[in-house]
């Protein structure tokens, strides 16, 4: 438990590091962009989605619930940038993209491959159950969007559910996922919220 807490603290600490406020010219590393390629949405896809309703009375909501129900916003950010950023973070947060399987060349020969084949699935559910995976997803979205300097705002549960998904052991399909990410990007690049900014 302490190990896990420590990891989370470390991840958040680094993620929350304030970036260099540099006035002097800098050299960006070549190819420092998203490892998943640049995600784009067409104008038609964008136009097909409506702006989510973010209005609610904070007095009726337990602030503890903001740990789960929140959205991101960054001033002076356009939709295309926000969509690319949210997709990149979603790609990190969706976890195991490459499922370990005994028929993967170069993998079965290794001990982890063998162990994975025998007890991997059972151990995975034991160690990282569905609830834990959903929690990891939230942490990774916060860490990644925090690094990109998006601010986090709390939301009422039902309003949140209208344009977000949780992902545990069962993956959310692309066709369900994409419209929601588009709406999240609309919010992230939309009007500046008047609500209180939450810690990253």
């Amino acid at each position: 438990m302490r190990y896990r807490t420590m990891l989370v603290t470390m991840a958040m600490a680094v993620a929350g590091a304030t970036p260099l406020v540099a006035q002097q010219p800098v050299v960006y590393l070549a190819g420092d962009g998203s490892p998943f390629g640049l995600a784009t949405a067409t104008d038609a896809e964008h136009a097909a989605q409506t702006m989510p309703d973010l209005s609610f009375d904070p007095a009726t909501v337990d602030p503890e619930s903001y740990e789960k129900y929140y959205y991101f916003h960054r001033p002076d950010t356009d939709f295309a940038t926000a969509f690319a950023d949210i997709n990149e973070c979603d790609d990190y947060a969706r976890g195991l993209r490459t499922a370990a399987s005994p028929n993967i060349p170069g993998y079965a020969a290794s001990l982890p491959g063998a162990v994975g084949g025998l007890i991997g699935s059972a151990a995975a559910d034991l160690i990282v159950g569905s609830g834990e995976r959903r929690r990891m997803r939230r942490i990774n979205m916060r860490a990644c969007m925090g690094i990109k300097e998006y601010r986090r705002y709390g939301l009422e549960r039902e309003r949140w559910q209208a344009f977000h998904f949780e992902e545990g052991l069962n993956a959310v399909s692309e066709e369900d996922r994409r419209p929601q990410l588009i709406r999240q990007a609309m919010v992230a690049s939309g009007p500046v919220p008047t609500a209180k900014v939450l810690p990253r």
């Binding site: 990891l7 680094v14 590091a17 420092d32 490892p35 998943f36 993209r97 290794s110 162990v115 034991l126």
Partner: protein
């Protein structure tokens, strides 16, 4: 709580086994045993790091030109194998379908699945980085020295010469890996045959904050993961005859979260890496 001992047991089991490709072998790596006399193989490279606590790191090879050729060939070979398998299955499919359609017995199974042609996109070959992942620590320490301000653990591991990147403190167990990946920015270094690359000291105890920098400056907020070995912390005496060179670090870009762990990036490192939002600044290059 109950899960932790199991987790620890699994971590221990895996920690000793570098994830390696079978064909071709891109990277071979093994910890140097904690023996009174140490003989290093001049054909191999070595990585040395001292740490204030138990260390668990995952490295991945940065592909060389030869690696890229070999990896591309490996993918092509795999694709050809799957293509042959697909062609056989596609040829057999009409007859299977016919038999299934005619079968009226209670033992009739599900409708035979239509074979799908493999493509480069659907290929199941692991990414090069994941194929070359090497873990070291926390087990198989090369040495441990008790000091007034805490013990120092030394890790020494042989590795195929080449360029490597630090993927982060990650322990890989399929479908249940733990740790933090430096997926959003990290550092790399080169390992040459016959040399011991000294990564320095892992941990923040020797880090001195620069009081001239403002709190807004990321350098003053996070200690770097590695600091150069100070004079007061000599290399293990058993390595006195080894050719030890301090690591020359360089920044490396983003990688996917291959193991589904926590996502972060390495702390800024003076002279090596800094950030603006999620952009990576190469401090080894002068503007």
């Amino acid at each position: 709580m109950r899960m932790i001992p199991i987790l620890a047991a699994l971590t221990g089991l895996i920690a000793t086994s570098p994830v390696m490709a079978r064909d071709p072998v891109f990277v071979q790596s093994a910890p140097v045993k904690d023996q009174p006399v140490v003989r290093l193989d001049p054909a191999k490279g070595y990585i040395l790091v001292d740490s204030h606590g138990p260390l668990q790191l995952m490295l991945m090879k940065i592909p060389s030109a030869e690696d890229r050729v070999a990896y591309t060939a490996l993918r092509a070979e795999r694709l050809a194998t799957l293509q042959r398998r697909y062609e056989r299955a596609a040829k057999a499919y009409p007859a299977q379908m016919e038999a299934w359609r005619k079968d009226r017995s209670q033992l009739r199974g599900d409708r035979p699945a239509m074979p799908i042609a493999p493509t480069d996109e659907t290929l199941d070959t692991l990414p090069f980085e994941q194929m070359t992942a090497v873990e070291f620590g926390p087990l198989n320490r090369f040495g441990r020295v008790s000091r007034a301000n805490g013990a120092i653990s030394t890790y020494l591991q042989s590795i195929t010469p080449g360029r490597y990147r630090l993927y982060g403190p990650v322990s890989s167990i399929p479908n249940g890996s733990v740790g933090i990946c430096y997926c959003m920015g990290s550092i790399g270094f080169a390992v040459k045959a016959g040399e011991v690359v000294d990564l320095g000291i892992a941990g923040s105890e020797t880090f001195v904050y620069d009081a001239t920098q403002t709190a807004e400056d990321s350098f003053s907020r996070q200690p770097p993961l590695f600091v150069a070995r100070p004079e007061s912390m000599p290399v293990n005496a058993r390595l006195k005859d080894a050719r030890i060179v301090p690591a020359t670090f360089f920044p490396v870009g983003k990688l996917p979260n291959f193991y589904g762990v926590l996502v972060s990036r390495i702390a800024p490192m003076p002279g090596v890496i800094a950030y603006q939002r999620d952009r990576i600044i190469d401090l080894t290059q002068r503007p």
